[in-house]
Amino acid sequence: MGQTIIEKIISGHSGKEVHAGDIVVARVDYVMGQDGTAPLAIRAFNEMGGKEVFDRDRVALVIDHSAPSPNEGVSSLHQLMREFAAEKDFRLYDVGEGVCHQLLPESGRVGPGSLVIGADSHTCTYGALNAFSTGVGSTDLAGGLISGRMWFKVPETVKFVCNGNLPSGVYSKDLILYLIGDVTADGATYMAAEYTGEAIAAMSQEARFTVANMAIEMGAKAGLMEADDKTLAWLRRFSDQRYTPVSADTGAVYSRVLEYDVSWLEPQVARPHRVDNVAPVKDVAGRPVAQAVLGTCTNGRLEDLRIAAGILGGRKVHRDVRLIVAPASRRVLLDAMAEGLIQALVEAGAAIVTPGCGPCVGTHNGVPSDGETVISTANRNFKGRMGNSKAEIYLASPATVAASALTGKITDPREVPGT
């Protein structure tokens, strides 16, 4: 019986051929936690009677969600993480190193065929590297830290075939927003998504991360892609390790196969307060924005900064807009500096904040005030997400965010002259 990508990866980590519906305990290659989830995991680790982590080279904690710390409560939890990592002698990525979902791929330890658990729902991001990576909570994280294993129900897979090429001014963010709008916030709950087709193959590796990152917003356990030369070339920048790509069998069984022609796609936004409340940008164009956010694990990579700098370079952010830029990692920040992108963005009026999650999760770095509209490249627009339930959050591509920052209102990036 043919297997999907995720069935093959779980089979390879559980020592037997598995199919959707099977429940197995599988070996995990890497275990990660962040500052919103690790403190509870440390407590659970101790409750479980944990002594050491299963492999100090296969675990990491990342301080990215509230970094640097905005108050003493957060500071004490960060300290707990530092002490735990030091005591167990494994890697902690501290303030300023970046978002966990950028750092793990950059670590070179995650690649095709890997199985990763992370105590953060957007751990599905590494599906773009042909890995099965999924979000868990703190207690599962503790179990993974101790045992190097996790139990899984092998999910069914829904396959998204994206035919055609994305038009100019339309990006991978627009595509994934459109797909989420189509299948809704629970369209793939308990399932894996496989993204395939001409449009995925044509995307850069960085653009693919954006698509995999948002699989959770349709409820999916994972969002997987096949590995190709671009994937392997991207990985070679960070690791000498040889990975064997995992492809679905031709006879693989899917719960649904959805085909799309993306050659007509327009720039998309998710409107408040749901990620699946998606519409073309033109439907909401003209709405004044007070804050624009470029960054996060969805769209804080070099290519995203390049797109925004291409629109904003030599121009000025609208005087009524605060543009906040959070590069996904220190490496991204350094690369962007070397390319002159940070110079261009700061000259345009952007405020650059510490590489990390930035204002996405409402702890610091730009909490909006009552009644304000925010346009952001992040992945969630739930009421209160950015720390104020009286603000409205629209999600869009880096190009749409940059164009909107420029004009002071939600703007289709194709309508900005000279871009």
Binding site: D120, S121, V136, G137, D140, D186, G219, T363, V367, R380
Partner: protein, 166 residues
């Protein structure tokens, strides 16, 4: 496990940011403190309305969004005995079982706000005392029942020294 209490009803797609906002959860491990803010963005009075043993009752995809385990913990520490929904988001579902909060899949259209409910988890039956009806329950997968019966994943690990689910 048997519980009795009244229903507090919510809609579809209640996400973990609504259950407990990020602005609170990063600051503390004191779940009793977090519990005061549970469901705050949906109903600012919710915490004050709950009596020990009550139920959260919702539609589809309850607990979607982030992986924060503070979500089931805040619900539990607010005095809620179980969450009943038509379906759950998967990370929340695992987290609830791992932390010992019962989660029950059932047809919640048969429950109105304020209905008096009684649940016998072992028997798999919900009795709506207000309506005088019984509501069937979708049974938990065997592995989750084992974890729940051990009191959550931490006691399970302490008892067995690791996963013992086969």
């Amino acid at each position: 496990m048997k519980f009795g209490g009244k229903s507090h009803k919510f809609g579809n797609d209640v996400n973990t940011d609504y259950i407990i906002s990020g602005k609170y959860k990063f600051k503390t491990l004191d779940m009793k403190e977090l519990a005061k803010h549970v469901m705050e963005d949906l109903d600012p009075q919710f915490y004050r309305k709950v009596s020990a043993g009550d139920f959260v009752v919702a539609g589809t995809n309850f607990g979607c969004g982030s992986s924060r385990e503070q979500a089931p913990l805040a619900i539990k520490h607010a005095g809620i005995s179980a969450v009943l929904a038509k379906s759950f988001a998967r990370i929340f579902y695992r987290n609830a079982i791992n932390t010992g909060l019962p989660v029950v899949e059932c047809d919640t259209d048969q429950i109105d706000p304020g209905d008096e409910l009684f649940i016998d988890l072992a028997a798999g039956v919900i009795t709506n005392k207000t309506k005088g009806s019984n509501i069937p329950v979708k049974p938990l997968p065997g592995v989750m029942l084992k974890i729940l019966n051990d009191g959550g994943l931490a006691p399970h690990f302490r008892k067995h020294g690791g996963f013992n689910l086969q």
